[in-house]
Subunit: 595 residues, 2 copies
């Protein structure tokens, strides 16, 4: 089963669930026009569907192959990667001064959704390179930029992020990799990093590792961490490749999924030390890392959206094809397509609604990132806070539903879904990692509660909720029959969200931190449902106002209605859990759990 | 990570969340006493933990190996299988007249949970043999019983169930395998069956296939289906093995999980026809099949409970070991065990509560099956209806949560959870099939709505709900601080369940079938939450009344409270979806979904 990039759905989301059209109309996204945007989406969709999608199954079956410290990528991957670079996709969002196209984050988001939907194992390598390009552009010295950045922007080389060590996962305080000053402006690194995505491969001739490490005189904790660029091959003055650096890939993990993506254990400085160059200032590596990771979280969220979209397409096609049982809506001969059975309709509609809601959140997050850069003064701050607020939602909710939707997809296939040949199970396996990497979804929820809700004394989230409320009121006022209870359910969900939000703001404000943290995950879900439901409602209002009498308008309205009446219904229970569940959660200590 | 059979939790569930102790006290379970029950559970737990559990990873890594029509089972499996038979476990619940021990279904349930938790791929073969033993005992002729049944009871041979064909999965009307009368009382079968669990293997020297097929003059549809016993090797008059039958294993599926369990494509009658003997009457095969499948559904539910228990044990052990970050409850040196962090506490408590709630439902179902057989007259009918009602809950809810809990287990392991070596991912992969086989969970929900709710005009489910209400009232009346809001939340959930139940009964009664079916899956979840919550509350009341001041009593109370305050909270949303979601579900036709 192949993937057909949902270009018109993506364009609809950008134009009608975010304010991108306004930005375009005001000429605030550079040379980008609505026509150009459509053309880029069309081309990206074609490349994703025709070139990348066929790699997905090959990568799963062949794995990235590890032998003697070298990784050989699956059949056809290098060819497609090179074609992808040649088409200019690697530098899509990179600054023009370094050879990029300088397109906004909304375009990065849309294209990343498509690459990762076509093949998540393929998409994740370029995804991480995008983050490193941002870190290099923002923090590296002109020399380092000159030597590395342009070749990352062209895609000639790829980059990696080296954070995790065996004892330091979510908690970077425990980081041990050390860096010593070499005296010539360079550094020597020593240490082990694990779970390094694309740490070694043969898609490109060189790989630039961005490595977090400690200097000998660094303060303890995360304020003593610096970021270094450590190339696989040293680079000569003339830009040609020099000798191999003192680093090696010691192992590639055998994982549940994304088998085409090599997840490496990297050893730095087994001999004299791996040669590295500082990115940013000494001991300020964490700030650089956040530059690197922030958009990466959004894009990982888009992996969830993308894989869910692909799983939905496959399940819908199967459900239209597969025939079992009778159904009153079936007038044809023999058994009915299972897509007609009410339980399967519910499953398919759930898949679609979750995809569209999470897409709405991710693109709203991308818009906020762009506006945070474009707008000035107070407005700029507001949009930056909005981007901060939406990033954990985009990452965690979208990847949660990515896995949920992939699982529904397996279920719709019945026994065939459990057979690897069908491909439905691969989506399930692949999607599972996105809930874990770039900060587990639990960490995202904690970030939301502890750092994002308290922004501007709670006014950032309150302002956002009042915008969602406006959408709900407009939906409620529309009085259209085909809207069903969109307005009513969205208002109820916002009531629940406001109660939970104020409860958490009070708990954090009063120092009842553990109580607040106990409700972090259900709150992230609650706020995401409200955000997604409002995004869909906004789309439904636009569809209702359009002269377009096509099926697409009816479909957008239906998706918003289904979401409101069947998924937003969870809001009351989530609110209850956030505001009333902490006591029994905090009582759950290991002794009691194992008694 | 190994598995430690939760013998005391299982015993507690049987004694305090079901009426087994009363049955024992009244001497109505034959020779079984509470002491004997405890001894059997203890022995089974030892065998499961020490002998079977080590097979689990081996089976996943090696797979059941298929070559030239033969399947070789993983290293050590035959040895353990033979030891398991030698210890008498194969015939635990089989009638004594055929060499079994005649123990009640509650004991079958408890032991099956343990075999399947220790290794689901290992457990599933014996699980299906249990079903066939029941079918043979109830429906086969004395000759067939003599020739096959005793050797299934001893475990010398194993049996399979052959229902599915490529075009006939959930809908057996489409069955095409045909059987011809041979004139000597035997039959010749011709056809292809797929997804046949343990269709070929080398654990036993013979395999007895139970095959659904049509006679030439059979009526169309499911009233024209007969059941046949078709042995791999024909059996001579003296009981020795004769020539190979005309059947073969043409393929073994490459699956997402349970790699140790061979899932076979079976071809019958490629030459002169596979020799088979009728089980039950001609064209009455479906009734025999239901005998075979009914307890199988309960036991598949117990696979969900078991694998969730194992995933919980592993996650708890990891969370106590793994250290990341700071925590106010941690007085030790360095980083805190992650089990102390509120978000991880919530995850661990969720895992445990779902395991215990689903176990309560499954054992209540087993009790109802036993009482349905033991009690006479009206009481017998009531208990049979109770068993009918609880079977889809036991199957679908337990396997849903089996997968959910396994996924939480992966999440608690972070990046390590995605690495196959850790074992957490295997539980996720293995558990996924239980939602599909023995009737998908969607089919279970439809069965619940269409056949189980309308039993005795709705009085079966109403009677059950009023029993749950009594438990809620007792919990509410207890006024214990450590009960938190158990009574209040359970009463609220029962309010929701009653509303949804009456809505569905009315819809089915008035012929609004599609509307009812649209809510089937959320209703199954809702009723299961109420049933599970009440089971835990019953356990909490027993724990509170016991003189036992140990941690175990406090733990049972805590589990019930956590479930009530953090999981039962979903009831309102589920009710809303059941009673208000149908319109948008039924509008979701394929054209709209793909527009």
């Amino acid at each position: 089963m192949s993937y057909r990039a949902p270009v018109s759905d993506i364009a609809f989301t950008l134009k009608h669930m975010t304010g991108v059209s306004e930005l375009l109309a005001e000429g605030r996204l550079g040379d980008l026009s609505e026509d150009l945007m459509d053309a880029i989406l069309e081309e990206a969709g074609k490349f994703a569907s025709e070139e990348i999608a066929p790699l997905n199954r090959v990568g799963d079956a062949e794995h990235a192959h590890f032998k003697d410290g070298k990784v050989t990528m699956p059949e056809g991957w290098r060819r497609v990667y090179e074609a992808w670079c040649a088409a200019g996709w690697a530098g899509l969002s990179a600054p023009e001064e370094f050879g990029g196209q300088g397109l906004p984050t909304v375009m990065l988001a849309a294209t990343q959704e498509m690459w990762n939907a076509a093949s998540m194992a393929f998409g994740v390598g370029p995804t991480l390179t995008v983050g490193s390009i941002e870190a290099f552009a923002a923090h590296a010295s002109p020399e380092v930029q000159e030597r590395y950045l342009k070749r990352l922007v062209s895609g000639e080389w790829m980059a990696t992020m080296n954070l995790t060590e065996p004892q330091a996962g979510s908690d970077l305080n425990a980081l041990r990799t050390r860096a010593e000053r070499a005296g010539d402006g360079s550094y020597r690194l020593f240490g082990q990093k694990i779970f390094i995505t694309y740490g070694e491969h043969d898609l490109t001739d060189n790989i630039v590792h961005l490595v977090l490490a400690r200097l000998p005189d660094a303060p303890a904790g995360t304020r003593g961490i610096s970021l270094f660029a450590v190339p696989k091959f040293l680079v000569n003055e003339d830009g040609s490749l020099g000798p191999a650096n003192d680093l090696l890939c010691a192992n590639v993990e055998e994982k549940l999924g994304i088998h085409g993506s090599p997840t490496c254990t990297m050893l730095y400085g087994e001999k004299d030390g791996a040669v590295g160059w500082l990115v940013g200032e000494e001991n300020r590596g964490l700030a650089c890392m956040f530059t690197m990771m922030n958009n990466a979280r959004l894009i990982v969220g888009l992996q969830g959206v993308g894989i869910a979209e692909r799983a939905f397409q496959q399940a819908l096609a199967y459900a239209e094809e597969r025939r079992q049982g009778r159904n009153p809506d079936w007038q044809g001969e023999g058994m009915a397509p299972i897509a007609l059975h009410p339980d399967v309709r519910r499953n398919l509609a759930t898949m679609k609604a979750l995809v569209h809601a999470s897409r709405a959140i991710c693109y709203a997050c991308a818009e906020a990132i762009d506006r945070g850069r474009i707008e000035e003064g107070e407005a700029g701050k507001t949009w930056q806070e909005r981007a901060n607020l939406l990033t954990p939602l985009a990452k965690a909710f979208s990847t949660d539903i990515g896995f949920e939707v992939a699982s529904i997809g397996v279920q719709i296939h019945g026994g065939m879904g459990y057979v690897e040949e069908t491909g439905a199970a691969q989506h399930l396996r692949d999607s599972r990692i996105a809930m874990i990497y770039e900060g587990t979804n639990g960490i995202q929820a904690i970030d939301l509660i502890m750092r994002k809700l308290p922004q501007s004394g709670g006014e950032a989230v309150r302002g956002y909720l009042s915008e969602l409320r406006e959408v709900a009121e407009r939906a409620a006022a529309s009085n259209r029959v085909d809207f069903g209870r969109i307005g009513e359910r969205l208002n109820a969900a916002l009531d629940d969200t406001e109660v939970a939000t104020e409860w958490l703001l009070a708990a954090v404000g009063e120092g009842r931190i553990s109580e607040a943290l106990a409700g972090a995950t259900p709150y992230l879900r609650l706020l995401s449902l409200a955000a997604g439901g409002a995004g869909l409602a906004r789309g439904a209002l636009a569809a209702a106002n359009s002269a377009d009498g096509s099926g697409a308008a009816a479909a957008h309205i239906h998706t918003a209605r289904f979401f409101a009446e069947n998924i937003l219904t969870a809001s009351g229970g989530l609110k209850e859990t956030v505001t009333g569940g902490a006591a029994s959660i905090l009582a759950a200590d290991p002794d009691l759990l194992s008694a």
